[in-house]
């Protein structure tokens, strides 16, 4: 630990002897010992230093000396640094150099109602941006159809693979398990009426009509939507999107449209695959654990699934594809240009997509009810 000793042999001058370990790892030493010496000797006008051979120092000593110099400045006491180690003198000179200060941005205080008003305006702004973005995508799609867009087919095929084949394993697992769960849960009630065979109807209608699409939507929003947002967010942060703009290429045409198309094409296909996996999951549980007759189960499934239900499932999946792709790309394009911004964009993409999926499901179900399908 650092040590201080005091010498008053020169009139009106305090000689401070520094010795020991002044490394900051040993803790910072307070200047109060020196201050109390100055209080008990009010005639002191100058402080000199001497250092012993065993003095070890780093920023711990510098911070002590800085505090002391500032304290002495207030009391008009001169501090002579010339006997301090050369390095310490240089660091003190550097630390005491007066630099031009940059004004800190002032935080404006806002009242509670101002905060609420601002949030409400942000919702409006967010909606406007989302609609603008949808408009941009629609316009770019029309240009694509007219063959006026520079479209990289290789990239598009890679996106198709990412949205489809690369997601299959996860979709298989989740759909199989959801089919099994439906089968189990359904059988608990139906067993009481001796109508266990209608498990097949529950699994078939539930999966084909809505559940496959919703589960696939949730998986895809976590896997693909998030990756779209992170990818575009990083491109925004690295100024890659600015580079496209200055090249005269619309980032929506070059980056967003291929992603939206790839996901809108692959979502219905993934949903059909999820339907099959869900039906398989229900079938396996019904045969092995509920001991239902397999032929009877298949017959019931065939009767339960109508083409209308398949179409309803496909409409769901198409709408979800649009929601996930647009949410992912929109959040990516809105991303702040830093690492935290990319994280926020990714989270926001998933939250927006899942919220959108639930709202869209409610709307489609309500419309089907009205249309009687």
């Amino acid at each position: 630990m650092g040590k201080l000793s005091f010498d008053y042999s020169i009139p009106k001058t305090l000689l401070i002897k520094l010795s020991g370990d002044w490394h900051m790892s040993a803790g910072l030493i307070s200047e109060s010992e020196v201050t109390s010496q100055l209080v008990s000797h009010p005639d002191i006008v100058q402080i000199n230093f001497s250092v012993s051979e065993d003095l070890k120092w780093d920023s711990g000593l510098i911070s002590f000396l800085l505090r002391l110099i500032r304290e002495c400045g207030q009391k008009n006491i001169q501090v002579a640094l010339k006997e301090l180690p050369q390095g310490a003198q240089k660091l003190l000179a550097l630390a005491l150099k007066v630099h031009e200060k940059t004004a800190l941005p002032q935080k404006a205080h806002k009242s509670f109602f101002e905060e609420i008003g601002q949030k409400a305006l942000q919702v409006d702004e967010g909606l406007r941006q989302a609609l603008d973005f949808l408009g941009d995508i629609a316009f770019s799609l029309s240009r694509l159809i007219r063959g006026k867009v520079f479209f990289r087919w290789d990239d598009f095929m890679l996106l198709i693979k990412r949205c489809g084949a690369d997601t299959l394993m996860l979709v298989s697992l989740i759909s199989l398990l959801v089919g099994m769960i439906l089968s189990f849960v359904g059988s608990i009630q139906l067993k009481m009426f001796g109508a266990q065979i209608f498990v097949a109807d529950i699994v078939a209608i539930g999966m084909v009509r809505v559940l496959s699409a919703v589960m696939t939507g949730i998986i895809v929003s976590g896997r693909i939507g998030a990756s779209f947002a992170a990818e575009l967010g990083m491109m925004q942060a690295n100024e890659e999107i600015d580079a496209l703009k200055t090249l005269g290429v619309s980032p929506v045409e070059f980056l967003v449209v291929p992603r939206v198309l790839a996901l809108v094409i692959m979502m219905p296909l993934l949903t059909i695959y999820a339907d099959l996996m869900g039906l398989l999951g229900g079938f396996l549980i019904s045969i092995w654990m509920l001991h239902l007759n397999s032929v009877e189960y298949i017959n019931n499934t065939q009767h339960a699934v109508t083409l209308n239900f398949v179409w309803i499932g496909l409409v769901h999946s198409f709408v979800f594809g649009v929601i996930i792709a647009v949410a992912g790309c929109l959040r990516g394009m809105q991303c702040e240009r830093n690492a935290a911004g990319v994280g926020k964009a990714t989270t926001s993409a998933v939250v927006t997509a899942i919220t959108g999926i639930v709202i869209a499901t409610a709307i489609i179900t309500f419309m089907c009810q009205i249309l009687g399908v």
């Binding site: 910072l28 920023s59 510098i62 390095g87 200060k101 800190l104 690492a339």
Partner: protein, 259 residues
Amino acid sequence: MDPTIRPVIEVKGLDLEYDDYVVMKNLNFSVNKGDIFIVMGVSGCGKSTLLKSMIGLKEPSRGKVLFYGKSFWDEDENGQQNIMRRFGVLYQSGALWSSLTVGENVALPLQLYTKLSGEQIQEIVALKLSLVGLEGHEDFFPLGISGGMCKRVSLARAMALDPDIIFFDEPSSGLDPINARILDDLILELRDGLGATIVVITHELASIFAIGNNSVFLDETSKTIIATGDPKVLLANSKDPRVIQFLTRGGRKDDQKSQ
């Protein structure tokens, strides 16, 4: 130089490869206490890869990096951590954590590796920031300050724990000549003040001649060191056309001398 005094860093027979691609081979040099040691060479020659293997981010294919006689890559995790605590790194991009304020960026190493109280840490943070000319900037976020300021904050963070060695990766990149000069002066002042050993990876000629007292020149073609020594002496005495071409910006020696 007293032969009994061991160099701070020794690089012995270092081979650097990415899979089958050889970046550099058979690198040998040593850095002495108080040196401002320049690693120079053309862009893409492997300077940053060498830095990565010196600061523990990329294990070399062969060879050793010794700090105070201890081979970094032969140490266990604790040994490597102990060596790492003795050096600070200023990355090319500044690499400040964007979600933390300037003050929090400098405070984090102190919170992790010292037992100082919150108030004492704030005091050291203020000291480090004042050393780089940024006193009172604790509450700024990295995005709210200029590139030159980011580099200086990064330097304050690199020296938060008073390291014996500070590595600089392209310190002048992205800076205007005035800010680059300010940073060069700061490197010199901090070397003298902290007594630290400094290793600078750069290809900026102005910085090389302003601060370097020892150097190695990495050659892209032969994939090894082709010149060592004080850059100013190399400029005056080197006969190797690759070194002369680099140190004179592709021109002749007379061009450089006349500047």
